[in-house]
């Protein structure tokens, strides 16, 4: 997956997790929590969905990398670069 494809995948997951939120204006550099109503269970949903959809494992000590869209894509790029977008 390219960084753009990873971003689309994260957006797709966020749409599931936060169906009431408007995601078009999401600022990739800003923390998700500063823009969306997300709590710890929601972040676990991101982790769970990546595991279910792509078998990507994110250890607890790495959760901090999921703070913003930019940091998330940067963190996931090496883990997902060999995954072919279906």
């Amino acid at each position: 997956m390219t960084p753009a494809e990873i971003r689309d995948e994260i957006l797709d997951i966020l749409e599931d997790i936060s169906p009431d939120e408007e995601l078009d204006s999401l600022d990739d550099e800003k923390a998700f929590r500063d823009q969306l109503e997300l709590d710890s269970m929601d972040f676990l949903d991101i982790v769970m969905e990546l595991r279910k959809r792509h078998r990507v494992q994110i250890p607890e000590e790495d959760y901090g990398n999921l703070a913003s869209m930019h940091s998330t894509v940067t963190y996931l790029e090496p883990k997902m670069k060999d995954i072919v977008k279906s």
């Binding site: 997790i17 936060s18 169906p19 009431d20 109503e37 269970m41 676990l44 769970m48 595991r51 279910k52």
Partner: protein, 466 residues
């Protein structure tokens, strides 16, 4: 008995003092026993409303209904539900669920997003959504100034038949797709399946910080929730009780499969005719979802805020068969009804309407009729109906929903019938059955609502017109 007679005489006197029209004073025996043969007959009491023991309590111990919120398979508010019953409209539809396949169910179509964000619906359970909807509707219906209500003094008491099966089945289904890798088991599973979930979601949604919990009471749970709410009000544990029952049971294949294995799941070519208590061709239960929550208040509080009162809890009882996992015990059921009558200070013949629990199983219906025959004998006044014939068996919500379906008879004077009785089972032929066509022009002062469940749990509530 002497004190009871004296207190009833006092009530009679007070009715005369308050100006009971002489035309309405009829010579009807007041029975202090629980049969129709008068043991201590008193005559000449005012029929405006028969006196009951609850009326002797101080107002802060009298519990009244001031709001009703519900979703049923054939109506999403109290009025439309009542209309459906009077129009004999069923809410049973074709239904399909994983593993089990095609079947029938009572399905609700309330707007889940009226009171919940999409995210709340996603994170919670169906039982939670049903409860949130019913609780909000009930508070609105009660006309309560919610913004200025002390929510630490609101209690939530939700009866449930079961809870957690839906989510557990879902998660097992999900991890099956991952070769049963439990790391794919949702972190939402525990908060969704804790037994207090259906009540807790209401608390979260409405910002209620008083006590909340569910009352696990099988299919007696709807009544049990009401009873619990009333008791907590009497104990001054809360000032407002949101009480009743909910069910999400149609979303678990297990309940269908289990009833089917028990040869107790209804089938019929016409879904609307599948739920047929008392009919000779009944063949089982139609599982339904739904919820009905009441706002209960002490009469003193209801009066103080000028609330409209829809009925008073004048009697109730719960007991246990202690005889079988599933088979009911008519002796214990009859005792439960008699205990409720005793608590209300009412004789059997003073009950105007009996809302039966009958589910459409061959033995259950017969056993309840046997119990009713024991209590009501050949009483001529009570009318007897069944609401499951319209909506199926809403499990934890059944008792509270079926009561709500009947309470408006206080105002409209109509007894909705048990539908789908093409040929009455002779074993169920008890006096007073209202079958297939509504009975109009019946003055209803007291509704007695039966609700029984597995493991031999029995519950009865009696609501009086106020």
């Amino acid at each position: 008995m002497v004190s009871q007679a004296l207190s009833i005489l006092t009530s009679i006197v007070s009715l005369f003092v308050t100006g009971c029209d002489a035309v309405e004073v009829l010579a009807v025996p007041l029975l202090l026993g629980n049969s129709c043969s008068p043991s201590v007959p008193l005559t000449n009491f005012c029929l405006v409303i028969a006196p009951n023991r609850a009326a002797e309590l101080p107002d802060d111990q009298r519990i009244v209904i001031t709001g009703v919120g519900l979703t049923a398979p054939n109506g999403n508010d109290w009025t439309s539900f009542r209309e459906a019953l009077l129009e004999k409209r069923s809410g049973v539809q074709p239904y399909e669920i994983r593993y089990f396949g095609k079947t029938l169910a009572g399905i609700c179509d309330f707007d889940t997003n009226r009171y919940q964000k999409k995210k709340e619906v996603r994170r919670g359970t169906r039982a939670g959504s049903v409860g949130v909807y019913a609780a909000n509707e009930a508070i609105q219906h009660a006309g309560i100034d919610w913004n200025n209500t002390d929510r630490s003094r609101v209690g939530i008491y939700v009866g449930v038949t079961e809870h957690g099966n839906v989510e557990t089945e879902n998660e097992i289904y999900v991890i099956k797709g991952f070769d049963y890798d439990t790391s794919c088991w949702s972190h939402h599973h525990n908060p969704r399946t804790v037994a207090n979930n259906p009540a807790g979601e209401i608390a979260l949604n409405m910002g209620i910080t008083g006590p909340h919990y569910t009352i696990g009471a099988a299919c007696a749970a709807g009544n049990a929730g009401i009873i619990q709410g009333a008791q907590m009000l009497r104990l001054n544990e809360c000032d407002l009780a949101i009480a009743g029952g909910t069910s999400e049971s149609i979303h678990t294949f297990g309940i269908f499969a289990s009833f089917n294995s028990q040869n107790a799941l209804a089938t019929h070519d016409d879904p609307a005719q599948a739920s047929r208590p008392f009919d000779v061709d009944r063949n089982g239960i139609v599982v339904a979802e739904g919820g009905c929550l009441y706002v209960l208040e002490r009469l003193s509080d209801a009066k103080a805020r000028g609330a409209q009162i829809h009925g008073e809890l004048v009697g109730y009882a719960m007991n246990t068969d202690a005889t079988d996992f599933v088979l009911p015990n008519p002796e214990r059921q009859a005792e439960c009804v008699q205990m409720a009558l005793k608590k209300a200070g009412l004789a059997a013949n003073q009950i105007d309407l009996v809302s039966t629990h009958a589910t459409g199983t061959s033995s259950g219906d017969f056993q309840e009729c046997k119990a009713l025959r024991t209590v009501f004998g050949d009483c001529t006044n009570p009318r007897i109906n069944n609401t499951k014939s319209y909506i199926g068996h809403a499990m934890g919500a059944a008792g509270s929903l079926e009561l709500a379906g009947n309470l408006l008879s206080f105002r409209d004077g109509v007894v909705h019938p048990t539908i789908n009785v093409d040929q009455l089972d002779p074993d169920c032929a008890i006096p007073g059955l209202v079958l297939n066509e509504p009975e109009e022009g019946k003055k209803i002062d007291y509704v007695l609502n039966n609700s029984f469940g597995m493991l031999g749990i029995n519950s009865v509530v009696i609501i009086g017109r106020v």
